[in-house]
């Protein structure tokens, strides 16, 4: 016993050291695949680290309106002071004094109204008349401020175009959502990459701290959403689920094993191969990939649940008069075949090409083989020869009756096939959102906040790039602005948020400078336009001076905007992405009803370096690609397993007898999933592989061993119940992926065990 504990302590120590040296990484991005086309590569990179991923949407509710406004203002001020956010938007947001000055200075270079004909007497006359009219009105203080320096209204037009489309109602310095329940809204842009869970947690903490510092009254609450929150919530959700379920499953399993063996040391003994397998899998993944992804670790450990079977089989199959070492040597050929076949079955995961699944596959494969080896060579040395651990006999009356009924089994399979044929099998999961570990409640909140803030989820967009410079990218954006107009007219989209909307290219700015009139020409045009109007001759001195200044200005660029105009830069920066020396532009489309039609039309535009991308379509295509690859590899893995069994059992017929329950279990599971309306995802496929690995154990030991006595049946039943306990718990998870795996494996294990029993020949009397 002390030896077992010493080994466990050693393994735990090694595991701790390894985890400390190469801690698991929580960045969801690394779990995702690299793209296969330029579009998908760009998309995935943006999804992982793009500016859109750092957006935080927030709502404050549960207090009277005035109180909410105060909370909103103070929270926003706290966020700005924290320095953790590149941008904070709330009801107090407007162009600041220095920002306004910068944009005002550049008004004629920025305004699309700047054309030679805009400064003729004929064009100026109505502007002056309108100005005079405005000066009579109640708005005269504002008009007097801008009107004489900018009688053409270039600046006010720009400000309206940039900030005017906000649909959010401002009250008392806070944005309020429409509706009866008062709800103040805020947005913030963090500085870390969006899918980096740790960075996002920091940003969320800063948000909660700023809210708490505003001393919210009881009942007031802060709701947060956004890709970053999703990443953090997903990580936390999986962690919570795994912890809760693992704990329950471990307790159940421990209780069950104790009941079976009436011995506590058994629990420690069973833990040894599991721990060794985890350690080896972890080490292998670190050696191959430099680190282990937290999700791969979670899935990998889950899949290694299989290896609990190995020590259980060893302990239960030991005959009363046999030493553990002899028993291990006796069952080794079957155990070896089971472990190798299960490992080969994982080929599909490795071949899927999805980095996360590949890691999980490597982790589990290496772990399986290690566990088998540990069971064979290490366990017998840990238990003193005189120790007697025996499974208590099970009453197997009803199960015994099931044995040797291949016709019943075939009938069940026929029903499963009929169900599959009738229902067409389970649907393939195409919607990435359904796979998301983010709770549906959180997804709904996100959609609601985006709607209220007028910040639609970016789905369809044009990608501009790669370009060598900011100017080139802005030039393409301008070309796209013109080219897309017919598509807008056809109703394929309502509009585009182009980078060039906020910052014209240097070339366009230069051409606008060239369009500005000379001093003499402008003075003459103004004089002519003002005939009969009561303007003093010097009234427009600021206008003519601005014209001279504008002609000499260096072109405005992104760096100048970022330094001097934070509000506009905050609008523009999410639309610009830099990757090394490459500059990319992003132009999200609004009002897209038919992404496929728009995609076809966009392809017909013939603009070089402009790409249309529909996030959902592209993701579906990516998933389909990976699903195809996984399926092909699963088939290859199946054939390989069959070959291995044929070689290992030295008979194709016996191989088929073993393969029967395995294939049957997969069929029955698919039928059940179809009946339960579960849509099949990549993760279900992975779970089917795991299930096949388990079924191999049962079938090999039951059907092919030729020792299908009560002891074997009892041993396999113990294994099956252990697995059912673990994965049954997993199927209760709220995380869709974990739920899917749990349900698939639990159903399959039950089916595999019963089918393996039924396919087993009736007990030979001599045994």
């Amino acid at each position: 016993m002390t030896r077992v504990l010493a080994v466990l302590a050693l393994l735990a120590g090694l595991g701790g050291a390894l985890g400390w040296l190469a801690p698991p990484r929580a960045n969801l991005a690394e779990f995702l695949p690299p793209g296969r086309t330029p579009a998908s590569a760009f998309l995935l990179r943006e999804l992982q680290s793009g500016a859109a991923t750092t957006l935080l949407l927030a709502a404050i509710e549960g207090a009277p309106k005035a109180e909410l406004a105060r909370l909103s203002r103070e929270t926003a001020a706290g966020l700005r002071a924290s320095g953790q956010f590149g941008f904070v938007g709330d009801g107090t947001l407007r162009l600041g004094e220095p920002e306004e000055a910068l944009l005002f200075r550049y008004r004629y270079l920025l305004s699309p109204e700047t054309r030679p004909e805009a400064f003729t007497a004929a064009a100026l006359r109505p502007k002056l008349e309108a100005l005079l009219d405005g000066l009579r009105s109640a708005a005269s203080p504002i008009l007097a401020r801008y009107g004489f320096a900018d009688p053409t209204g270039a600046f006010l037009g720009l400000a309206a175009a940039w900030l005017g489309e906000s649909r959010v109602a401002t009250e008392d310095g806070a944005w309020f959502a429409p509706g009866d329940n008062p709800r103040a809204l805020l947005v913030a842009r963090g500085q870390g990459a969006g899918l980096d869970a740790a960075a996002q947690r920091l940003a969320m903490t800063a948000f909660h701290q700023a809210f708490a510092a505003a001393t919210p009254p009881p009942g007031a609450r802060l709701l947060l959403s956004g890709p970053g929150v999703f990443a953090a919530e997903a990580a936390a959700g999986i962690e919570r689920d795994v912890q809760r379920l693992t704990l329950t499953a471990t307790l159940l399993l421990a209780g069950f094993l104790y009941w079976r063996f009436r011995s506590w040391p058994v629990l420690a003994l069973v833990a040894v191969p599991l721990l060794a397998a985890t350690l080896a899998g972890y080490a292998a993944a670190v050696a191959l990939y430099g680190s282990v992804h937290a999700i791969a670790l979670g899935f990998g450990v889950t899949m290694l649940g299989v290896v609990v079977d190995y020590p259980i089989l060893l302990l239960t199959l030991r005959r009363p008069d046999e030493s553990l070492a002899t028993a291990a040597a006796r069952i080794w050929p079957t155990l070896r075949l089971a472990a190798v076949s299960a490992a080969v079955g994982l080929l599909a995961m490795v071949g899927s090409g999805l980095p996360g699944l590949v890691q999980t596959g490597v982790f589990a494969g290496v772990g399986l083989l290690t566990a088998a080896a540990t069971t064979r060579w290490l366990l017998p040395r840990l238990v003193p020869a005189e120790t007697r651990i025996l499974a208590r006999p099970l009453g197997l009356g009803s199960l015994a009756a099931l044995r040797g009924r291949p016709r019943t089994a075939l009938a069940v399979l026929a029903v499963a096939v009929a169900v599959l044929a009738a229902t067409g099998g389970p649907d393939r999961q195409r919607d990435l959102a359904a796979l998301s570990p983010v709770p549906a409640r959180q997804q709904a909140l996100d959609a609601e906040l985006r709607g209220q803030l007028g910040a639609p989820d970016v789905r369809s967009l044009f990608v501009l790039g790669p370009t060598a410079s900011e100017g080139e990218m802005l030039g393409r954006s301008e070309a796209l602005a013109g080219a897309v107009e017919p598509l807008v007219a056809r109703g394929l989209l309502a509009g585009l948020d182009l980078p060039s909307r906020y910052l014209p290219s240097p070339a366009l700015q230069a051409s606008r400078q060239a369009a500005l009139p000379g001093d003499a020409a402008l003075a003459e045009a103004l004089r002519e336009a003002a005939v009969g109007l009561p303007f003093r001759p010097t009234a427009f001195a600021r206008f003519t001076a601005a014209m001279a200044e504008s002609r000499a200005l260096p072109p405005l660029d992104l760096a100048m905007l970022a330094a001097g105009a934070p509000t506009i830069a905050a609008r523009l920066s999410p639309l610009v992405s830099r990757h090394g020396a490459e500059v990319w532009g992003i132009a999200p489309a609004t009002g897209v009803a038919e992404p496929r039609a728009l995609e076809a039309a966009a392809a017909g535009l013939g603009l070089p370096g402009v790409l249309f991308l529909d996030v959902k379509l592209e993701m579906e295509r990516l998933l389909a690609d990976y699903s195809r690859a996984t399926l092909a590899w699963a088939l290859a893995g199946g054939v390989a397993v069959l070959g291995l069994l044929a070689i290992g059992l030295r008979s194709p017929r016996r191989a088929l007898a073993v393969a029967g329950p395995i294939g049957g279990a997969v069929l029955v599971t698919l039928a059940v999933l179809g009946l339960l309306r579960e849509a099949l995802s990549l993760f279900h496929l992975a779970a089917l592989l795991l299930l096949a690995g388990l079924a191999i154990d049962y079938a090999l030991f039951l059907a092919a061993g030729g020792t299908a006595d009560d002891a074997t049946t009892g041993a396999v039943l113990t294994c099956a119940v252990s697995t059912l306990l673990t994965f049954g718990m997993l199927s209760l998870s709220e995380t869709p992926v974990l739920h899917g795996i749990g349900l698939t494996v639990a159903t399959g294990v039950a089916a595999a065990f019963l089918l393996a029993c039924a396919f087993t020949p009736r007990q030979v009397r001599s045994a």
Binding site: E97, L135, S137, A138
Partner: protein, 188 residues
């Protein structure tokens, strides 16, 4: 005649109150006690860039606590209504109607608050936007409002409000080198 006779009758009673000059708080309390009021105004805007002044006139209606309407009847027809933090701008001759939250327009909000805050006797609201200097005068009282916000100061440098008892008499707005003088009298 009747009014002057009544004033004579009341003179002995009013004398002690007149002797003490009204304080800002007293004036605000008196203004706050007025539930509704209709007045006529004449306004003359002097803008340095224009050779001529821009005169106009109309009516001013007040309904406590926050409804203010400035209806210009000559030379243009323009109606500005403020209620519950929203401003409605209407020019029937141009078919223009706009509505926005005052919170979105800090300059307009400050200008509106100068008049609304005074009529409501809401000193706290005035002090949110302005430095308030008060003086009793021979005719009544005078309040000089200096915008606190730099942004508002860019458009308006000073607003001088005068009144008599609980009635507004004039609002003079200085900004951008020009001045807007509004004289107010009770509506007939």
């Amino acid at each position: 005649m009747r009014a002057s006779r009544r004033a004579l009758l009341l003179a002995p009673l009013a004398a002690p109150a007149l002797a003490a000059e009204p304080t800002l708080e007293q004036v605000m309390q008196a203004l706050a006690a007025v539930p509704a009021q209709r007045s006529r105004f004449t306004e003359d805007k002097v803008i340095p860039e224009l050779e001529v002044g821009q005169p106009n006139e109309g009516t001013l209606s007040w309904q406590a606590p926050d409804r203010l309407e400035k209806h210009t009847t000559w030379p243009i027809d323009e109606r500005v209504t403020v209620a519950a933090g929203r401003l409605t701008y209407e020019r029937r001759d141009r078919g223009v109607q706009r509505e926005f939250a005052l919170g979105d327009q800090p300059e307009m909000q400050a200008l509106v608050e100068a008049v609304r805050g005074t009529l409501a006797g809401d000193l706290a609201a005035l002090r949110r936007h302005y430095g308030v200097a008060f003086a009793a005068t021979a005719a009544g009282w005078r309040m000089v409002l200096t915008p606190l916000s730099l942004r508002v100061l860019g458009a308006v440098q000073r607003i001088t409000v005068t009144g008599q008892g609980n009635e507004l008499r004039s609002v003079e707005t200085e900004g951008g080198g020009g001045v807007d003088r509004m004289q107010i009298a009770p509506a007939p």
